[in-house]
Symmetry: D2
Subunit: 415 residues, 4 copies
């Protein structure tokens, strides 16, 4: 019996099967992209061809029709086993179509034909592999609720100025979704999302991603200088600095995909070291590593942590599916959303931390072999460490958020 997580919908089953095939292929080039810090354009291309990139686009618009968060997360999870960089990059895009499909359903149900048509067009483009979206939400020196990139009024639209970081997937993107701040005419400020052509005027993708791990994710800085945004391409996201449905719902789901990717990295490390333990023989005794009590102990620690991480991710994703089906876009009660988000933050902290520990233990159990650059463990060890940094929330903010929600307090983080 195999205790890995399994899809719960037919469309999800197709996605997972597809993702596994991609992962086997991507794994053959993951070390090279890691070494070179190069972006795996060919992986993205292959996923356009296979419609993996349209995983959450309805079938009638050319996608795979995956609706379940649980199954979408498993798709990313399987990619993560092959190449973590590709997994987190494609997650940013695939999530956008899940979110767009959800918005399209709400628009259609509300009889808003203009919005329905607009969203349908985008979904068809994604379905056809013509559009890849990159989300730009992070900036240095502030958190996600308080973007400082500014959209200011100009004739016929807005001028965007600012400097975003962690532009994962930017090398292959046609569209950028940029979190920014807009001055409220009444004196306050609002959070907004601007949609910008990736190669348009006033946009500079810096091609400067160079990090400990996830080196193939293309997470470049992107700088905007007087970049003109048409009126219709800027969507309101609630008051600047305050939680609102779009912020909290989107970040819960997209980050759940990321957690799936990091779990996949841990699973790859576990499988690698179990294989080593079963096959590597001592030259002095002739016994395989697996026969040593210390190896058995180390493998057991990995199994326990992996079982816990899988169970937790599956449970949160299942709860999220039920929650978002009950509450269509635009109707989510914020208090309940904080409860769900708290539950997810428990999962995010736990799974990311356990994923780091699992790879660390796999290194230990490898007996030093995993420390060599030629071992995939040496890449997995660096890639998996990115998980806890993903916002929202990083570890210490997570404790504050979880504690406050549990205790019935205002969950705003004390920055």
């Amino acid at each position: 019996m195999d205790f890995e997580l399994r899809p719960v919908t037919p469309a999800g089953a197709r996605l997972v099967e597809l993702a596994q095939r991609h992962a086997a292929d991507f794994a053959t080039r993951a070390d090279q992209h890691d070494r070179e810090g190069s972006f795996p354009f060919e992986n993205i291309e292959a996923m356009k061809q296979s419609r993996m990139m349209a995983a959450c686009v309805p079938e009638e618009f050319g996608g795979l029709g995956v609706d379940s968060i649980h199954d979408y997360v498993l798709g990313i999870n399987r990619l993560g086993r092959g190449d973590g960089s590709t997994a987190i990059a494609s997650n940013m895009h695939i999530f956008r179509s899940w979110w767009t499909t959800r918005a399209w359903r709400a628009a259609r149900a509300a009889g808003d034909e203009g919005q329905t048509a607009k969203l349908e067009q985008l979904l068809r483009q994604i379905g056809a592999g013509q559009v890849v979206i990159c989300a730009l939400i992070s900036e240095a020196g502030t958190d996600l609720l308080h973007p400082l990139t500014e959209a200011t009024r100009t004739d016929g639209g807005w001028l965007l100025n600012g400097h975003k970081i962690f532009g994962t997937m930017s090398p292959a993107a046609q569209l950028l979704d940029v979190a920014c701040r807009v001055k409220d005419p009444h004196g306050g400020a609002r959070r907004a999302l601007a949609r910008v052509p990736a190669r348009g005027a006033g946009v500079e993708i810096k091609n400067n991603w160079d990090a400990l791990g996830m080196r193939g994710s293309g997470s470049h800085d992107v700088v905007f200088k007087d970049c003109l945004i048409p009126e219709a391409e800027l969507a309101d996201g609630g008051r600047w600095g305050e939680y609102a449905e779009p912020f909290l719902a989107a970040n819960t789901v997209v980050t759940m995909g990321l957690v799936g990717a990091f779990l996949g990295i841990a699973e790859a490390a576990r499988d690698h070291v179990v294989e080593i333990a079963k096959t590597r023989r001592s030259r002095s005794t002739g016994r395989v590593l697996a026969e040593r009590h210390s190896t058995q102990h180390a493998i057991a620690e990995i199994e326990i942590d992996l079982a816990a991480a899988r169970a937790m991710l599956a449970r949160t994703a299942t709860v999220a599916d039920a929650f978002f089906r009950t509450h269509p876009a635009g109707t989510v009660p914020l208090g309940e959303l904080h409860d769900l988000s708290k539950d997810f933050q428990c999962t995010k902290f736990f799974v990311n931390r356990k994923a780091v520990e699992i790879v660390d233990r796999a290194l230990t159990a490898s007996g030093g072999a995993g420390y060599m650059s030629k071992s995939p463990l040496s890449r997995l060890y660096r890639d998996v460490r990115a998980g806890p940094f993903m916002q929202p929330f990083s570890p210490n903010e997570a404790f504050e958020y979880i504690g406050k929600v549990t205790l019935g307090l205002d969950p705003t983080i004390d920055l």
Copy 2:
């Protein structure tokens, strides 16, 4: 939204609702039984009246008809929130009817009328509240696979001699199921289960249970001296010292119930300390404890661990339900059973350890108040520590077992 575990069958829902009502009542006397080390006979009586004690007996025989392991575990879990001692004691009995019902189904399907009738009679007795069963499987100085209590041939049956420990529920039992060793005529030895009237000749219940916690569980020593067992009351359990379906299947399910109880203890501690944090005010500042960052941090640690423990128990119980439905009694493939058992041992180790840590953190977050005898936390801290000792397996054996199964080795523990 509340993230506690929920039953998945209608009968389970009735059981959980019933268990919650019992737990609220039992909680009012738990401290007193703990202080006195007295057995809660009145709790057992109340559960006979409500048919809680017949939870897993088919409805046609007077029970609640709970078939799902997941839901049976949740019933015990809810009892654990009110009184850990009562929960683990009743688990030993309730499991026996789950196991008997499973055997009865297999006997009926096999057309074995004699066995079917015999099991049906027992189930009807349990359904009517006439019989409580206590399992005696532990002995000092050996493990569960190697019982040293001996059943020797005599005219018309067997003579039983030996000294069992941890006879949880023995004060209220009519029947004792005693693991023992039988000499094989061909020179080997076999494991067997003898069924003995609790108040019969040659049986001495020592009334000597006196431990750190679980003080109301009546886990007395029971000594057998030339106790006569009729031929039909001794069931074979496979070769002595070797894994076999009855051993591994029964222990996986019954111990899962215990894990449910210990999770319930942790949940009670968590609820208690969250209530304290929300209501206790500093006399110097007037602020509630919840407003302190350190309290928020501590509560968050509890929430994370509790979410992980719940998810893991739910997932293993769900997998177990599917597994045992696929494989009726007597047909379970041993290799797959070891896989399931390994998965459960991950859960047992993890949930029991996290339960201990959750109560420990609740103590910390209580700021010293929980250390006083008048606080329920001081009982929960002692009760919850029993969890890791439950066999099979205690922590260090668990690592060896999990490691060996994962690595494809013979999972026999190196004693």
Copy 3:
């Protein structure tokens, strides 16, 4: 070679040798006092006879002349191995004479004859075994910096009103040192220490200590109702709610003694379980527990933690000795005292936590035997859990304090 901590001064060597003899005796009655919740008056009496109670009184005044904090802590540590309750109770008293001797030296150096004579008299009384002192610093609902017990002006002195908790050693005390608040004529408030005869008017020792562990420590509530304090018996301790030398210096040293006691409890648990592992044989295999890999692993975890805990306590105590020798009473630079106190808080958190874990692991390694009330482990498990609650600081406050001092911020705790 034995890696236990060793005294560094001749007087300390005598103290440690004496404490070890007492501990061997006290251990024989520790379980009984624990069961009964009775105060070990006979232990206190024996320590008066042996001059253990006068450990830190100069030899010329009848004491053992132990000056080194390191060695005084080791004396308490050795007592802790025999009976934790007696160790923490006597620490409260023994510390007072260390502190008084330090004050006496400073008074003499300053030529303050009145103060010198007064302190000398007290030291002689302690040296003669006539006086035992109990410190009353804790109250419910506030922290040590903010006592709410109030001393108000009256003719010829003060009237004391308030309710103290954790009056460890109160049953055997002649004098109580009571932390209280005094209104400043200029509108503020000051912290003060009132010295009160334990059996005087207006003092009620409630005899109500009933806790999870440390059950023989007599840590009763003490209530003051219009208790008259002569002018000279109330000493100023700085502004209420603010750190000052007397508060921080005294609490660092006295709590170091407590940490020694908890380390001693862990050492007793370790010795007990190593003995069990070496001698208990399996009845089925005949092998001692020590031969099992899982036992070796568990013992190794204990050894590592114990070695770390010992090293840390020794280093902090050595640093503290150098520090307080360099800075006589009344001349301690507060910033450097915070640095030392931060270092000690690291030690307190670490050693107390490791002590809890060591006893927990000893329980696990005992294989269930330690869970029985007749095993000393079941007492040690409860006693050792008191450590983290000792103020200042409990765990979460400790993190805040350590973090703030390290980062150069005002270390006042955000209550």
Copy 4:
């Protein structure tokens, strides 16, 4: 007050001061060598000039005369703060002169003039910066007690054949000390140490070191093919596969130096992140990172672990100094040496693990900045992970060894 470890001898004080100056210089090039995987020849050259490379050579032979293990370890510790690769490389060499000086003292005391002269010559060469030694003790697929590199008898000496790994410092070495196996004429096998010119015939340094971290350490494979060793250059080291004084004593001391290096890496990470926390301001609130409670909590965790790691290393080094002074070379009682070695293995496991955790926490506290390649934290995170692999022992072997020694069993590891 600063709680870093301080030298205890005058020669040690000079060494530490010198090492700190070197470290400040090496730190400026550490990232570059890490990027390129290049060996820092210029660092070795600078340490020859300064006599750092002759730290443990007696002053009369041109060295710094450091005799104390504690202080030698601190010298390596300080280097580790600047460049981990250089620190571990130079440790291998510096240890050899500590060991040689110890042998020289024993030879002189024994009146062995030939050996005295031979060792003196080597010490003078090291003192003059003419000789750098590299120890080759590791091989793939076996452990240090069981080298499989073989020295076979030939005319006038031995022929050496085998493949060593982890040849740290090999690029700059003039001499290689190679652990090998020699057939005993009586049928058994012995462990031996062959001294080989690094650039001689039959020696190939593969220049193939390419690992996750410690990329500047030049830890290449070295292959011997029919390499001729003169009779006098092969020293017996006891029976193959059995513990003996040279093996256990040398490995305890040389590995203690390595632990010092890894502690230094953790200290560098800690200092870096404290500086970040004090200076980096939020662009949205203007407050420094240090004011956040989560930062204070994270920094406190680092401080606690660092304090424990420092204390433990200092205590073990102090004990080792006393031990080896009491027992000159060749006279060490093996049982006591195992006790010391057990104590050190506790320290090695603990300090290396805490060092990994400290850097991990520093990464977390850096808020993502540390994950960038331009941050030294991204190098420290990879470098520090090498610590646990250093033999003897890696983590799981360490548990077995510590457990067995503590329990009085034969400490041979069950491979």
